[in-house]
Symmetry: C2
Subunit: 336 residues, 2 copies
């Protein structure tokens, strides 16, 4: 590992010597609200400026037992929706004096390893911001005690004592189904990404339930296995290939925008069908490109800012955190 310049960081001790006070007075000058005379503070600050001193956060963390670092676990970098969320997360956390450790959860470094590692680094909190976490492994009792507080973002949490911040799926699906029904669609289909996930199952269940309320019991279920444009295309390709035109769905709801865009490409490009005349498409997330005239995708926007604020409130809050469900916004465009 390359070494930083030989110049060491100046310490409180050195500033103290320069200012002619004890090092504890230097500490006080840098501790808001501590008792110190104006004169002492001024002299310390002058010496500090001259020596280019600033407190060593590492040492502070060791002494205070708080790093002001938050680990964010991500496992799904294919979903471009992650990016605006990461932007908002980092921005708001930084504003709160916290900094993000971005942890890539994958086969080589799974969430159990990651959690152990985050604990070793003494992070103040862990945000689970992925799709494919298996709740059971995190609920493992070995991990139960002494670990940093965990929170789930944009997904359900089945883990005891681990609250989540989610977009209200029931409300979202109700609005979507209402809209589709009103538009006259009657043969709905649902494409899910990861069928093993409780969040995915829940959305699908709401979709089915609300259609049932309207007297539509037959829901075509497609499974893309993953969340990518390619997976969406493959899944719809397989479906259209094996289904006679008269039997096909008239509207396909995809679990997220990326699946929807992939499906749309395949439907129009490879099969020469029209959207929404032959098959209408609905996504979820309101990814920027879905709004382009090339797609004009009807979708549902998660309340990103509110969600991020909520999870930060949980992290910096002092009271016991509880799962929060926030309403999103229906975005109707030309694909339905």
């Amino acid at each position: 590992m390359r070494k930083r310049d030989t110049v060491r960081r100046t310490t409180a001790k050195e500033v103290a010597a320069a200012a002619g006070v004890s090092k504890w007075t230097v500490i006080r000058a840098f501790t808001p609200g501590s008792s110190i005379t104006e004169e002492s503070k001024r002299r310390v600050m002058e010496a500090a400026a001259a020596l280019n001193y600033s407190p060593n956060l590492l040492a502070r963390s060791l002494a205070t037992n708080s790093t002001r670092q938050v680990a964010v676990f991500v496992d799904d970098f294919r979903n471009p929706q992650k990016l605006p969320f990461l932007e908002t997360l980092t921005e708001r956390l930084q504003a709160a004096g916290l900094v993000v450790m971005l942890i890539n959860i994958n086969n080589h470094f799974d969430h159990v390893h990651a959690l152990l590692h985050a604990d070793q680094r003494q992070v103040d909190a862990v945000i689970l911001f992925g799709t494919a976490f298996r709740d059971e492994t995190l609920a493992d009792r070995k991990l139960g005690h002494g670990m940093p507080p965990m929170f789930v973002l944009a997904r359900d949490s089945q883990i005891e004592g681990v609250p989540a911040v989610v977009c209200d799926a029931e409300l979202a699906l109700r609005e979507i189904v209402d809209h589709l029904h009103e538009k006259g669609y009657r043969r709905p289909g649902f494409m899910s990404g990861a069928t093993a996930l409780s969040t995915a199952l829940r959305r699908r269940q709401h979709f089915t339930d609300f259609w049932a309320e309207k007297g539509v019991d037959k829901i075509e279920l497609l499974s893309a296995e993953k969340y990518s444009a390619e997976a969406g295309a493959t899944s719809v390709h397989e479906y259209l290939s094996r289904t006679a035109p008269a039997e096909r769905v008239d509207v396909l709801m995809c679990e997220n925008d990326i699946l929807a865009l992939g499906a749309m490409d395949e439907i129009r490009g490879k099969f020469g069908l029209r959207v929404p005349e032959d098959i209408a498409i609905v996504g979820f997330d309101n990814y920027e490109l879905g709004g382009s005239s090339a797609y004009s995708l009807t979708t549902y926007e998660q309340p990103r800012f509110e969600m991020v604020e909520a999870i930060i409130g949980m992290i910096v809050g002092t009271t016991e955190a509880e799962t929060v469900t926030l309403p999103g916004k229906m975005i109707i465009r030309n694909s339905t």
Copy 2:
């Protein structure tokens, strides 16, 4: 700030007591290559497992003067290309035993603040992975000494002593211009995102130079100011509105895919023109969605894996790092 469970992490001292050895022996058991008997190690490891001990990385960092944390500065979350790069970066850094601190550079927290902060946290290195850094401010002498080593990813570096890893722009633009010329285009345009950036200027310069070599001296220059689909659309809209059809470019090269996709939407959607028949489009980055049949965008792919490996090599390397230029790959699709 919420406190972690009252259960404190077990320390080497406690393990030592349980195993009946001194705490230094415990440390040795966890230090590969240190001299310790098999028997001692076994007893320590047993006690450690029973007590659920693992070394505190914070304390280690303070003692060794190395945090094994790398700060990554990002200022441009609109470009989806950031996501795969972040994925590769985190994955490869983690494999090297390093972890990413993701820093959002914006108006409230500029790169000078961020650098000072990263220094306070004693990060082992800083990766500049944005578009709009102003080189001058980072070259400021106040920041010159004692700061962590800095490296620039996917952009030129004008900063003395700060090496960069970039995709070979000269090669890329040569291949692109060759391709376009071969296809018969003769009235080229270039849309840049941020005209103030040296990297942007360089690409444009190569584009102009290579066309000049082929006897084409007139290059239409568009400026989108920012890097977003919307900015690309607005820019091309303004251009087409003020330019008579006969005067228009026959091919428009955009500085990145997002600009290109935005421009393409506008050209086809609002102006009813065909791509590539009326205007051909070229992007840069090979963003996944550009490959969809809705766009089928001709573009240029940066050698992401090689670039990441190169920058990690610089970080963990012992010899003086020098700017590395790597060849990318031309991706020809139907938009040209």
